[in-house]
């Protein structure tokens, strides 16, 4: 019997096998009835049977085998097969589950047909069936991985979008809050000095504290919503002695009433600074607190303790987030920092939180340690490297400014003081000099920034006598750098940097950075 005729005359048997297979797919089909399980299968099979009866040229056959959209009779999309895809997607089937339905359908049709003597040579038919099955298995595996990867990419994109939206919201909120809080602060200060009845003192104190609270919250939200990969959002280190006071507000703000947050040692003002930027640390601990809170909510509430202990021998601080939640089994514990691993329901967690915390810590020389047992809660410890307090005194770095424009001078002074360069301004070219040779030998660097109020011969002498640590930034093209000159040679080896006479702040900043990097390399 021809295959198309076999399909049409054995429809019910084939549909029953399809239904049985769909039912065996597990949780997703548990509550579905036969009609839902057989969704559009009859239409699809009828379409297939009709398709088999249409004459195909060799070229058409080849085009179809390559999945070309131009292939004739590929209008399944508009019929049962297309609608079946829509239905399965809304029912929550994964892509590989849907593909496996088709694999099972093909296998069962060919098996039933062969058994019914549909093909003269049964061993050849079997080979075709086996071949189809093998290709199908390979396809299903690829689809499964593909679908998983697409899902992960979408989850990551969503997480990023949410952060960007939060950033915009926090910036806007910060702006509006400061416009309200500034006048409030001034008014409270005014009232504190006014002759008011003594009973109003505690009220004013409460108002003042509230304004401070909201200012802290605004700062905290800004740090929390900043791009963690942007190193310039906050300084490279966090002073732990003041950090908690700022961090605690937004953390508490996001917890539900059944979760209590306790600080234990983390509020100590004796804690050192650690080499992790504030916004990175705030986001890492926020992730840990959120995870703990979600675990606690699943058991009806509980406690979170944030604590900090310094290990002076190791030069680290262990910042711990502990909860009395359900804890994790060994398998979950082993996998919980893998990207996209999540135990939360679909759509709730991205599975990125702990992985991001671990990556952020490692990027800044820290570590994430986790301890957990079912029924005994979980402890997440961030091991943070301490910024060395007793480091060698910084080598002397001096900046000498010979500049007419007061604002440019002030800008350079501000930028250089920010990185620990001692700045002196000279009124007359050469007045500050390069100091005695002994002083130069111990100095880490000399930087001269000059405009055309400086004497070119004197600047050249500065370059010649200053030694290898001398850098000169000149504003304007008054300094001779023609071929063969000493100026050209200094430019070539990076000791002389020439910028515009009226540079923008970014040009200035770039030139100063290049000069300073020169010292450090």
């Amino acid at each position: 019997m021809r295959l198309s005729a076999f399909i049409l005359s054995n429809m019910e048997r084939i549909l029953q096998e399809w239904e049985d297979f769909a039912r065996a797919l597990g949780a997703v089909t548990k509550s579905m009835d036969a009609k839902a399980l057989r969704d559009h299968a009859k239409d699809i099979l009828s379409d297939v049977a009709a398709d088999l009866e249409i004459y195909q040229t060799a070229a058409q056959q080849e085009a179809k085998s390559k999945g070309s959209v131009q292939a004739p009779h590929s209008e399944f999309a508009a019929t049962g097969a297309g609608r079946h895809g829509d239905v399965r997607a809304t029912e929550g089937f994964t892509l590989d589950q849907m593909v496996s339905e088709y694999r099972a359908l093909r296998a069962s049709v060919l098996r039933l047909w062969t058994r019914a003597g549909g093909m003269a040579d049964r061993s050849e038919a079997e080979q075709i069936t086996r071949f189809n099955e093998a290709i199908d298995e390979a396809l299903a595996e690829s689809v499964k991985r593909y679908a998983r990867d697409v899902e992960r990419l979408i989850a990551a994109a969503h997480a990023k979008e949410r952060m960007a939206a939060l950033g915009t919201l926090s910036a806007g909120l910060g702006h509006d809050m400061s416009n309200v809080l500034m006048p409030m602060g001034v008014s409270i200060a005014e009232l504190e000095h006014a002759a008011l009845p003594p009973a109003s003192k505690p009220m004013l104190e409460a108002l003042r504290r509230s304004v401070e609270h909201l200012r802290g919250l605004t700062r905290g939200l800004r740090s929390l919503s900043a791009d963690p990969e942007d190193a310039r959002v906050s300084p490279a280190s966090t002073d732990l002695s003041t950090w908690w006071a700022e961090a605690t507000l937004p953390y508490k703000w996001t917890l539900s009433a059944d979760v209590r947050l306790h600080a234990s040692g983390v509020e100590s003002t004796a804690l050192p600074a650690v080499a992790v930027p504030k916004h990175v640390l705030m986001q890492a601990v926020f992730n840990l607190v959120q995870n703990a809170a979600e675990a606690l909510s699943s058991q009806g509430g509980g406690n979170i303790w944030v604590s900090a202990t310094e290990d002076r021998d190791e030069g680290t601080v262990s910042l711990q987030v502990r909860d009395d939640g359900p804890g994790m089994d060994a398998q979950t514990l082993a996998r919980c920092t893998e990207p996209f691993f999540t135990t939360k329901p679909r759509g709730r967690g991205t599975g990125l939180g702990l992985s991001l915390v671990r990556t952020a810590m490692e990027r800044h020389g820290g570590r994430l340690l986790i301890n957990s047992e079912p029924g005994k809660g979980s402890t997440f410890a961030l091991i943070l490297p301490v910024v060395q307090r007793d480091a060698q005194p910084q080598a002397v770095r001096t900046g000498i400014l010979t500049l007419r424009d007061a604002r440019v001078r002030a800008m350079i002074a501000a930028l250089l003081s920010g990185v620990g360069v001692e700045v002196s301004v000279e009124r007359e070219s050469g007045q500050a000099g390069v100091g005695p040779a002994a002083e130069r030998a111990t100095a880490h660097g000399f930087l001269r920034v000059a405009d055309d109020s400086a004497d070119p011969r004197e600047v050249l002498r500065f370059l010649d006598e200053g030694g290898p640590n001398v850098r000169v930034v000149v504003l304007g093209n008054w300094f001779p750098t023609n071929p063969g000159s000493a100026g050209e040679a200094a430019m070539h080896d990076g000791r002389l940097i020439q910028i515009a006479a009226e540079p923008s702040r970014s040009t200035l900043q770039g030139a100063l950075r290049r000069a300073i990097i020169g010292w450090e390399s």
Binding site: H175, M177, S178, S187, A410, V419
Partner: protein, 138 residues
């Protein structure tokens, strides 16, 4: 002692009021004018010749950055300090490029503004603590 003459521009009347109140208790600073828009800025600058212009960045109408560039190019002795609730790095950098001598976050408060006014009068560039953390040369 010569008091520092300050002109304040902010479309938020509460901020202007609060600055007036705060500076009235600051002996070395006096307010020579308050504007709630940029419309009368040129005339006010001409008339009052302030030492310091305290300028908000988020105002309807003409761009405050453009106004700063004009002031910077006019050769006037007035130095601008931005007093803003915005802390985006690119905005701070654009304000500094437009000729600002200082940038103070409103969240750092009125005392930070007073500190900045004194620093700028002493010939320094002034960034309030929140701004410094954004702009640091690193």
């Amino acid at each position: 002692m010569n008091r520092v003459r300050v002109l304040c521009v902010d479309d938020n009347e509460e901020i202007l009021w609060a600055l007036g109140l705060h500076f009235s208790h600051t002996p070395d600073i006096t307010i020579v004018g308050s504007l709630s828009s940029l419309a009368g800025l040129a005339a006010a600058l001409n008339e009052t010749k302030p030492d310091i212009l305290v300028l908000d960045l988020d105002m309807p109408g003409k761009s405050p950055l453009e106004a700063m560039r004009e002031l910077d190019g006019s050769g006037a002795a007035t130095r601008t300090i931005v007093f803003s609730g915005h802390l985006r790095r690119e905005l701070i950098e654009r304000a500094m490029d437009a000729g600002a001598w200082g940038y103070v976050s409103k969240n750092d408060g009125e005392d930070a503004l007073v500190t900045a006014i004194r620093a700028v009068m002493a010939g320094e560039i002034a960034w309030s603590p929140e701004v410094q953390s954004v702009l640091a040369l690193r």
